[in-house]
Amino acid sequence: MIQAFAFYLFATLMIASGAITILARNPVHSVLWLILAFFNAAGLMVLAGAEFIAMLLVIVYVGAVAVLFLFVVMMLDIDFAELRAGFINNFPLGFVLAVVLLAELVLGVGAYRAGSLPLGVADGAGAATAGLSNTAAIGALLYSRYLFLFEAAGVILLVAMIGAIVLTHRQRSGVRGQNISKQVARRPEDATINVQPEVGKGVQL
């Protein structure tokens, strides 16, 4: 009973906060509602017994991606009048997108009603081993059966990261950076001298 209650609570909250994400006028509010949606998705994962995925969802999306999102969105200077002015210009594109999404939904539901595709044989090959924890089961599959896909994903991310750095990196001249090892290596003898000048005579450095 309590599982059903929790499921409907999480599911309702997730759909509602997802809807408000789109409807909210203020982009910062949108991001915060999105975070709530992520949270409820993690709750659903816990209910489904996939606690590892749930925690990763919170760590990666809520803890890192959404923070960066918020970071960018907070710095926007939002002019609501300007936002509304763009509505008519963007309306055709938005309309086309909406039609495409609606068609996909109808197609998806129709295809589902017609019967599912035989993607694999249910021989239990992908089933979790009994007595193995969630994390260990995912690790055992990820690093054996799906190793190449997993590593390929890693390489793609690495390439994307290097690409982003190369695209945004620029060499600026005349920047005075701090060289900490040079500062630490500097000794008092290199920088100071002790002299005792006679009265009436200056110091030649």
């Binding site: 309590i2 910062v28 915060l32 975070i35 606690e51 590892f52 925690m55 990763l56 919170v58 760590i59 809520v62 803890g63 890192a64 923070v67 960066l68 918020l70 970071f71 907070m74 710095m75 924890s133 969630n134 994390t135 701090q178 900490i180």
Partner: protein, 347 residues
């Protein structure tokens, strides 16, 4: 505890519910009291290192100072700036405070004495601690004021940077312990090196602990990494516009987070509720006493650092996180997993 309530003739569901609520109260109430006393201890240690007396007027030795402060802010008026985003402005301190309490659910106080003995305990701690930044960021944005906003920017960049290296450090611990469950991680440290309980005696994990301690200070925004509330440049940082209880909630949440970091240091590297040495006579002392002693020791270290080290500049903070800790911790992940593979640890 569930069995005890079932013995009173309750059904399993009710017994579980009541015992969980009791468990939450058993952790949260002493924690709140502990936070009040730890604020006093922090001020006393700080004062002693500056050759001052510190709080010494309210109660014997000034012990009631935190309660007097609490009463003072409780009786103040809550001021909401006219230009603030009201809902978010009020929610932000609640988020900080709640998140600071939530992570304590998986900290083991004795063998099996843990509120939620989940398999992914360590990931849960990581997930919850990454939520802490929202309280600060939302406060900074919703205040609609420049200094809190700068502070929020700094906080989000700082937390993201140090979470990466903390993740790698924790992976080293998990590799050695072979589990994410905090209780099992503590058990894996029993007699780890000769008779010493704790991963810290391991020469490969000792540098990881040093980095974890420093990253922990950065993650909880304690001195020398307290750039989010650097009073010389940002007034009071994200708390600038807050008053009364909403201000006090930040205060409490911050110290609860510091205590949590101390507890994590103790649990992950110093053997948690195990005594320091694996001698039968030391097991007479209950586990939670050892854990408490370790937490207090680490809190002293945190205060000590606060009293002695000057604040980092922002670019130095970023350099330390990205150019020193990240490569070094990544290297250690390779070294430790290589060592464990070579010695047949996983076989």
């Amino acid at each position: 505890m569930t069995e005890f309530f079932m013995g009173l003739g309750l059904s399993y569901g009710w017994a579980w519910g009541i015992s969980t609520v009791c468990g939450i109260l058993l952790i949260a109430l002493p924690l709140m009291l502990g936070v009040a006393m730890i604020i006093y201890a922090d001020r006393k240690i700080w004062a002693a290192m500056a050759l001052r007396r510190g709080p010494n007027v309210v109660g014997p030795l000034g012990l009631l100072q935190s309660f007097a402060d609490g009463l003072k802010v409780f009786l103040q008026e809550t001021i909401i700036p006219a230009a603030a985003n009201k809902g978010l402005f009020l929610i932000a301190p609640i988020i900080t405070f709640t998140v600071a309490l939530m992570a304590w659910a998986v900290i083991p106080f004795n063998s099996g004495a843990v509120l939620a003995n989940v398999n992914v305990g360590l990931l849960y701690v990581l997930a919850i601690s990454s939520l802490g930044v929202y309280g600060v960021v939302i406060a900074g944005w919703s205040s609609n004021s420049k200094y809190p906003f700068f502070s929020a920017m700094r906080a989000s960049a700082q937390m993201i940077s140090y979470e990466v290296s903390i993740g790698f450090i924790l992976i080293c611990v998990v590799l050695w312990a072979g589990t994410f469950n905090l209780n099992d991680i503590v058990k894996a440290q029993q007699g780890h090196v000769w008779i010493i309980n704790g991963f810290v005696a391991n020469p490969l994990l000792f540098p990881m602990w040093v980095m974890f301690l420093i990253s922990g200070m950065a993650e909880t925004a304690r001195a020398p990494f307290d750039l989010t509330e650097a009073e010389s440049e940002l007034v009071a940082g994200y708390q600038t516009e807050y008053s009364s209880m909403s201000f006090a909630l930040y205060w409490l949440g911050e110290y609860a987070n510091v205590l949590l970091m101390c507890a994590l240091n103790a649990t992950l590297f110093w053997g948690g509720w195990l005594p320091p040495l694996d001698l039968p006579i030391l097991y007479i002392v209950p586990g939670f006493v050892w854990l408490l002693l370790k937490i207090l020791f680490f809190f002293f270290v945190f205060s000590w650092v606060k009293a002695t080290v000057p604040r980092y500049r922002y670019d130095q903070l970023m350099r330390l996180g990205w150019k020193v800790f990240l490569p070094v911790s990544l290297l250690f992940v390779f070294v430790i997993s290589g060592y464990l593979m070579a010695t047949g640890h996983f076989a």
